[in-house]
């Protein structure tokens, strides 16, 4: 087992919802990153979770910035720290809306410029802060307040988009696997250049499940193969243990869908689409891991 530091950077009394995965993820991100770290946070749940001025529940400097601006803001910060001879970690902590939708231009620019930073997208598959509207990251079939009949379009393949920028490190993680997340953040921060971690964040109010089920929901996502844990260091892909097991013997994706209110009434077509996307993705990653493509 990896030794996880006892030091806490998320203080008690955040404004997060009960069972919030974003807070859980950030807790381990900061344990891995340590005190010499600045977070850049665009508009997202974490903007609220920190608390209300003059209080803050995060014990590293947090720079809150406009929705579309996180990766660009971090670019400037990273360059300024380097110019001043500082080795401070610059970490963007952004939701899926701020990453796959409004923030993708800045994200693309920062990765193209090989900005020395870590970009973490915690993905609850909708605009959570504004009350669960669909984002480009919402899966097909999911009901949100702007897709009351279920989303008709597939989830945007963010990882493929980021991978196309040839980052030095790219990984997926899940709130239900904090050890795995911790190790990935630690590894990412040892590398220079642009690093990216995409973390699945099962959201109790948004996905409509009870708040003690967050970890369980994350595990179901991985075991069903809908969320695959892997990492890619300078392009070399490794599929991580829990997903390797799931690829051999996945649980039915219905086991994952049926426990979430957002998928209530999902039709066969959408389920098949989710299944086939998951299978294709698994195949593709397996080939990459074997060095075939």
């Amino acid at each position: 087992m990896t030794e996880i530091p006892k030091e806490e950077f998320i203080l008690k009394c955040t404004s997060a919802c009960a069972g919030c995965p974003s807070t859980l993820i950030l807790r381990y991100v900061l344990k891995a990153a340590g005190a010499d770290t600045v977070l850049v946070v665009p508009a997202c749940c974490t903007s609220v979770i920190q608390g209300i001025y003059p209080n803050t529940a995060v014990n590293v400097p947090v720079y809150n910035v406009a929705f579309a601006a996180a990766a660009a803001c971090a670019s400037g910060m990273s360059e300024a720290f380097q110019k001043a001879g500082k080795k401070t970690n610059v970490i963007v902590y952004a939701g899926d809306g701020g990453t796959v939708d409004i923030g993708i231009q800045a994200l693309s620019g920062a990765f193209e410029r090989e900005t020395d930073f870590l970009y973490i997208c915690y993905d609850n598959e909708a605009y959570g802060n504004t009350g669960m509207q669909r984002s480009g990251s919402t899966p097909i079939g999911a009901r949100t307040t702007t897709t009351p009949g279920g989303k008709v379009h597939a989830k945007k393949d963010l990882d493929a988009i980021v991978a196309a920028h040839n980052p030095s490190y790219l990984a997926t993680a899940c709130a239900a696997y904090p050890q795995d997340l911790f190790k990935k953040v630690q590894k990412a921060l040892t590398l220079r250049g642009s690093k990216f971690i995409h973390v699945l964040a099962p959201c109790p109010p948004g996905w409509r499940f009870s708040s003690e089920m967050t970890v369980e929901m994350g595990k179901l996502a991985v075991r069903s193969g809908l969320w695959i844990l892997y990492e890619s260091e300078f392009g070399k892909v490794t599929i991580n243990g829990p997903s390797k097991a799931a690829m051999i013997k996945p649980i039915p994706i219905e086991d994952y869908l049926s426990v979430q209110g957002r998928f209530k009434g999902i039709d066969r077509k959408a389920i098949d689409a989710l299944k086939s996307q998951a299978e294709q993705r698994a195949k593709h990653l397996q080939k990459e891991a074997e060095g075939i493509c």
Binding site: P61, G76, A106, G109
Partner: protein, 370 residues
């Protein structure tokens, strides 16, 4: 060193002199020459700055914000649509009290595409909390850019400053330029609220109405204090380097019965019109407004005023004319001229004075008498 240069190159040379840590760059006509020249300086090693070739103006300002909050001196340049595209972050920079300096090469806003001079681009940013200054010569572009860093970073101000120069008319005109060894004229930046990992704080967290209101009042106070800082900076600049400009530059103003007010290159051209009118026996003078924010206190009492706005607010009029009328009772003839690079000669300006109709507004060249 004495040479000749374009307005754009003068701005770049001033930036080189104050050595920002971080410069964000995105091209747009007619500003591009500034970021190209700075790229040359950085590539050749003449300027040791981090040069971030961002993918948009929104990101240019965001990158400056990220750098500035670490305590780094930062610069960027833009124009027209670029300025409007970064509008959100322009607000952010001032709200976050970051002393970023930006050159804006004034250009009209589309549609249709028009790359020539007009002040409406920067005027759309006038309520953001940025100090704004408008220059009229290559030398003034250089001197004012140097002063902008000192004013922005002054402990009593800590607000961003936008240096405006007219697209093509000044950005691409070549005139003499005396570059300086600025020495300690611009002291090192000390940002009181710079990020410090040993003393972590949250920046821009959720803020209630009372605190929000207080922060806005702090910006207003800083804006008011900046008048004194501008005056001090001008005085010290004049003592060291022998040139001064003032918040508004007067020309044959003292005994003038009728005053032409304009900004940028039109303000210089107006001086030639004043000479013409004086030769005809008209007691004319001119006043070239340099600082739009903070807006100068001008005493125009007892004079007739002809204001030339290279800007407009639809349904409101020329913004300078309306701003002056809001502050004092004055017989004022409002002329909207020079939009989209419209040619306005000193003869035209003299004509505005000769045919002035106080209390009315003229849209020059389109039979626009209102």
């Amino acid at each position: 060193m004495l040479t000749i240069a374009t307005g754009n190159k003068a701005v770049a040379a001033a930036v080189k002199e104050v050595k920002p840590y971080v410069i964000a760059a995105y091209p747009i006509t007619p500003q591009t020459e500034i970021v190209e020249q700075i790229a040359e300086y950085v590539t050749s090693g003449e300027l040791d700055s981090r040069y971030i070739p961002v993918e948009s103006e929104h990101s240019a300002m965001a990158a400056c914000i990220g750098a500035s909050i670490t305590g780094a001196r930062t610069f960027t340049a833009t124009s027209s649509h670029g300025l409007l595209y970064m509008h959100e972050m322009v607000n952010w920079a001032a709200g976050a009290r970051l002393p970023i300096v930006m050159a804006n090469v004034n250009r009209a806003i589309g549609p249709g595409w028009n790359v020539w001079a007009e002040h409406t681009d920067a005027f759309q940013e006038r309520d953001t909390g940025w100090l704004q200054v408008y220059v009229s010569t290559v030398q003034e572009a250089y001197d004012t850019t140097l002063m902008a860093f000192r004013i922005a970073e002054h402990a009593d101000v800590i607000l961003p400053v936008m240096v405006n120069l007219d697209g093509f008319l000044l950005s691409h005109s070549m005139q003499s330029l005396d570059t300086l060894n600025a020495g300690d004229f611009v002291p090192p930046l000390h940002l009181p609220h710079a990020i410090d990992v040993l003393n972590p704080a949250g920046y821009g967290t959720l803020t209630g109405p009372d605190e929000h209101f207080r922060f806005r009042w702090e910006i207003e106070k800083a804006m008011r204090r900046s008048r004194k800082v501008i005056a001090e900076t001008e005085r010290d600049f004049a003592e060291r380097f022998g040139r001064s400009y003032g918040v508004a530059e007067e020309y044959r103003y003292e005994d003038a019965d009728v005053v032409v007010i304009a900004m940028g290159t039109l303000g210089k051209e107006a001086e030639v019109a004043v000479d013409l009118l004086r030769n005809e026996g008209v007691n004319a003078g001119s006043l070239r407004i340099r600082w739009l924010r903070p807006f100068p206190d001008l005493d125009l009492s007892g004079r007739e005023v002809v204001v030339i706005d290279r800007d407009y607010s639809f349904g409101f009029g020329g913004i300078i004319a309306q701003s002056l009328m809001a502050r004092q009772r004055v017989d004022l003839y409002s002329v909207i001229a020079g939009l989209g690079g419209q040619e306005v000669t000193y003869d035209d300006i003299a004509g505005f004075v000769r045919e002035r109709r106080p209390g009315t507004e003229l849209w020059f060249g389109v039979n626009g008498n209102v």
